[in-house]
């Protein structure tokens, strides 16, 4: 069994233990850390080493616990799914050692939420004929393959230019409403951009985004609010059970 970490919060304004279950059906507990508190659960390590659909379902449960903190009007610093410690003692010791960083992050993020805007092509469209893998037995298979690669590269470049233009437009739209931006992973045509904004500005944010012109070739999907995952350094939650841990503890 391990101590699984959901989030760290300021203990100010806390109203008792949450009656929640999360990952692996384990009840959520609170670990007191002075002016901070951590929402944790005791789970089998195997339950957070899931894959496939189970992984997705457990990650959704993780987020629901974090979301419950938000629903209570608090600002959680969310850990990523899978953050865990050998036991409560190890968890407390590690998090206490990082208390200054947590305090700074809580000061910076207090009252803020994360919104996500997805830039999605209006039409996916079938691949051009020339982009299909040529018959390897064809006499001109080599030439056609190289042409396919070139066309893909050209399309990717054109998509990137179009997406950059949309991103620039979005920045103009939400300037003054947001106070942070984080671009999603990947260098692809469909992007997720996370914005940080005051909780009370969510409606204003949605209104500011509006819609994209038909000619852009893209549409927007706005999601949130959610905890500020994209604005909390994941290194703050390194637990020693991760090969990339800077601490190497655990």
């Amino acid at each position: 069994m391990v101590t699984y970490l959901y989030c760290v919060l300021s203990s100010a304004g806390a109203e008792g233990t949450p009656t929640l279950v999360g990952v692996a059906g384990a009840p959520v507990r609170i670990l007191a850390l002075g002016e901070l508190e951590a929402w944790v659960a005791t789970v089998h390590e195997a339950s957070i080493s899931a894959s496939g659909p189970t992984l997705g379902a457990q990650a959704a449960l993780h987020n629901e616990v974090v979301a419950a903190a938000m629903s209570a009007g608090r600002t959680p610093l969310p850990a990523r799914f899978g953050s865990h410690f050998a036991d409560d003692r190890s968890c407390i010791a590690t998090l206490r050692g990082r208390a200054p960083q947590f305090r700074d992050a809580l000061t910076r993020l207090a009252g803020s939420v994360e919104m996500s805007v997805l830039i999605v092509p209006k039409a996916w469209g079938p691949p051009a004929e020339s982009s299909l893998m040529p018959d390897r037995d064809a006499a001109d298979a080599g030439r056609r393959y190289l042409e396919m690669v070139r066309q893909r590269a050209r399309r990717a470049e054109a998509n990137q230019v179009a997406v950059d233009a949309v991103m620039s437009e979005l920045r103009d739209k939400v300037r003054g409403v947001t106070h942070g931006e984080s671009r999603g992973r990947g260098t692809t045509a469909v992007l997720s951009i996370a914005h940080l904004l005051r909780r009370e500005d969510v409606a204003r944010y949605r209104e500011a985004l509006g819609t994209l012109p038909e000619s852009s070739g893209f549409r927007l999907i706005v999601a949130g609010p959610r905890a500020p995952y994209s604005f909390v350094g994941s290194e703050m939650f390194m637990t020693g059970h991760d090969s990339s841990s800077p601490d190497g503890n655990g």
Binding site: L55, G56, A57, N63, A67, R80, F81, P126, G186, A223
Partner: protein, 80 residues
């Protein structure tokens, strides 16, 4: 099958995929990522696409309510 039926993703799935990607990003259990290429566009975000319907099913099987705004479940313990 309609053209491109296999790549039609509704907004709900995209939002859920984005959320899961965020929650899982840099998580300690992620060992790999499949980039799916659709219409010559690499959609990193959609690497969880194949999970989505299964996630919904798994949650529903556990008795959790699912709805469109990805507020998937409120798991308050009854009677506690």
């Amino acid at each position: 099958m309609k053209p491109n039926e296999d790549i039609s993703l509704d907004d709900e799935q995209l939002v859920l995929g984005d959320l899961l990607n965020t929650v899982l990003d840099k998580g300690v259990v992620i060992s790999g990522q499949v980039t799916i290429s659709i219409a010559d566009i690499d959609l990193v975000m959609l690497d969880l696409r194949l999970l989505l319907s299964s996630v919904q099913t798994a949650l529903e099987r556990q008795g959790f309510r699912t709805d469109g705004d990805v507020s998937l479940l409120r798991a308050e313990l009854s009677g506690s």
